[in-house]
């Protein structure tokens, strides 16, 4: 037994070469990720003259914090972060309430309405999301929702079949006997849902939250189309707007980018394991 292990892992020259090669490949992969980001970080601290004259990899001679101030206040990144946070909180709350309730009914009661709705949800996943906005825009306009936060929020809540599927899969593994004993004790379906099912769905809710927050934070098309005014900037649209007034001032754009990366980095470092697990669990829905 020991012989086999030894043969595979040390002693001979080839496995060692393999090991060196493996690390070399990983280091190269990390460099490919880091180089574009390091340049942004360094550049964000240079003033305009230095930015134009120095090498992209040169350290800034003096830390220029004014770029950050300009990006934060004039560039409306601060406003963007605030609006993004508001939209994320409302959309996620909505998705969880609507999604868990829908999944509960679709999975626990076999009704005709439920079956039709399930098929309708499945079919809807085939509609090309961005192209569909050609006509969704008209509907939003008829309801006077264009130019309000309600438009993206409704779209984030309303078309989220992925969350419903994750909740349904999770419900499959929650024993029916829990529902039954509660009903025998005289509880109604509302009580069963809110007191028994919802608390048990916590891990699925965490998965949905992770997928949802990442996708809303990254969405550019929806806010760009439905919230064109500057007061309703979100992170992506405020950054996009940087290209106009700061077209040639990359140091300010870079500061804006760094400001947007920091919250993502903090969330990633604290929730790394949950994020990986959430994405892997979420992909099972297909």
């Amino acid at each position: 037994m020991a012989e086999a292990v030894i043969k595979n892992d040390s002693y001979s020259f080839v496995p060692k070469l393999f090991t060196v090669l493996k690390y070399a490949i990983l280091v190269i992969a990390c460099l490919v990720v880091f180089i574009p980001l390091v340049v942004v970080f360094l550049g964000s601290f240079k003033n305009n003259t230095e930015f134009l004259s120095s090498n992209v990899f040169a350290l800034p001679t003096k830390f220029e914090w004014s770029n950050y101030k300009t990006a934060f206040i004039d560039g409306k990144v601060l406003l963007g972060l605030k609006n993004t946070a508001i939209i994320i909180v409302i959309s996620c709350t909505g998705t969880i309430i609507v999604g868990t309730m829908t999944a509960y009914v679709l999975q626990r009661f076999k009704t005709v309405l439920g079956k039709v709705l399930k098929a309708a949800f499945l079919l809807a996943t085939l509609f090309p999301a961005i192209s569909m906005q050609v006509t969704v825009y008209r509907i939003m306009n008829n309801f006077h929702l264009v130019g309000t936060m309600a438009a993206p929020i409704i779209l984030y809540i309303g078309t989220d079949i992925v969350s419903i599927y994750i909740f349904m899969q999770f419900l499959d593994n929650i024993s029916y006997s829990l529902d039954e004993s509660a009903i025998i004790d005289g509880a109604n379906y509302f009580t069963v849902f809110f007191k028994i099912i919802l608390p048990l769905l916590k891990p699925a809710i965490a998965t949905v939250l992770i997928i949802k927050v990442i996708s809303i934070y990254n969405d550019f098309y929806t806010p760009q189309l439905y919230m064109p005014s500057e007061e309703l900037s979100v992170v992506s649209t405020s950054l996009y707007r940087f290209m106009g007034p700061y077209g040639a001032k990359w140091e300010i754009i870079f500061a804006g980018i760094v400001i947007c990366i920091i919250p993502a980095l903090v969330i990633f470092l604290t929730l790394q394991k949950q994020i990986y697990a959430g994405l892997v669990n979420g992909s099972v829905k297909e």
Partner: protein
């Protein structure tokens, strides 16, 4: 779903007058009210309108609507500038397969005995967490060629000049621009694939590896006979998703180049036709074409995955 004997239905007899039945129906209707409403108003009504509009000539306001039959579809397929955008999908499709291969390779390395594997995994995954617009802007600068007045060379051209080469117009050379954009897309999304593959590889029971080890299997054999068959379903799934992704590319090319220098995609064309040129009828026809392609790909997906079982 499968356990027929234990559904709550047993507790709520199918007696129309029973209190339990009424209560159940009230719960079903109340819980499904909002999702049904949202689905109908914001998905199915627009979808129906999309089909109807695709046979009409109309603008965003719907004045002077004219029925034109299949005219819009004819325009989509015969006007080079509209349909040619599909040609760019081939770049992205090709890129997606490179991305999958590379991701599988890196995932296999990260799953072997390696120090700091969590650190490496974290680094290659992190771009997925960065805002799309930020990624696009980072690479707009990365590939930039200086004009000598207001802008200097970007990162890549700086490296090239450092080694004595001449700066290249990465983003304004047809063909090359698409390769650059595909690279950006791989840079951003590969971490997601790696995490998926690692998840699949780790779900293979460790006993199997141990048995292979005892039998003296080498690394290549372990990959060929244990890892590859174990993660086959997820590879197939990612390949289908890659096809769907390649025909729906939008954000990165839109922000990095605005679709100029032959880097436009079908979705960019669709939104511009609808909102910039106000040709809602034509844009609807383009959306329907995209929908039909996705349907075909999905049917293929179902057939392939079914056969695989």
């Amino acid at each position: 779903m499968t356990k027929k004997t234990n559904t709550p239905e047993r507790l709520a007899p199918r007696n129309k007058l029973s209190k339990a039945y009424i209560e159940k129906m009230i719960t079903v209707c109340l819980f499904l009210l909002i999702p049904t409403l949202l689905l109908v108003v914001f998905t199915y009504i627009p979808a129906a309108e999309m089909v109807k509009f695709s046979f009409e000539e109309r603008d965003q306001f719907g004045v002077n609507v004219k029925f034109v039959g299949l005219e819009n579809y004819k325009t989509v397929f015969t006007t080079p500038e509209y349909f040619a955008a599909f040609k760019n999908s081939i770049y992205y499709l090709f890129g997606s397969f490179i991305q999958l291969g590379l991701a599988l390779f890196l995932a296999t390395i990260l799953c072997s005995k390696i120090r700091f594997s969590n650190f490496f995994k974290g680094v290659v995954f992190f771009p997925y967490m960065i805002n799309t617009v930020a990624v696009a802007l980072i690479f707009r600068r990365f590939f930039q060629k200086g004009d000598g007045i207001t802008n200097t060379d970007g990162t890549l051209n700086s490296i090239i000049t450092l080694f004595g080469g001449d700066p290249v117009k990465f983003l304004s050379t047809e063909g090359l621009v698409n390769i650059c954009l595909v690279f950006v897309s791989i840079w951003r999304y590969i971490g997601f694939d790696i995490v998926m593959f690692i998840g699949a590889i780790q779900s293979i029971s460790p006993d199997i590896y141990e048995a292979a080890d005892l039998d003296g299997a080498n690394r290549f054999q372990v990959f060929r006979y244990i890892i590859a068959p174990g993660i086959r379903p997820i590879i197939l799934l990612q390949m289908i998703l890659a096809v769907k992704g390649a025909i729906s590319v939008y954000e990165i090319p839109f922000i990095v180049t605005g679709g100029r220098f032959g880097s436009s995609t079908f979705v960019i064309q669709t939104t511009e036709t609808a909102f910039k040129f106000q040709k809602v009828g034509l844009a609807s026809a383009m959306a329907v074409v995209l929908f039909l392609i996705i349907v075909v790909v999905t049917i293929i997906q179902k057939l392939v995955l079914k056969e695989d079982k």
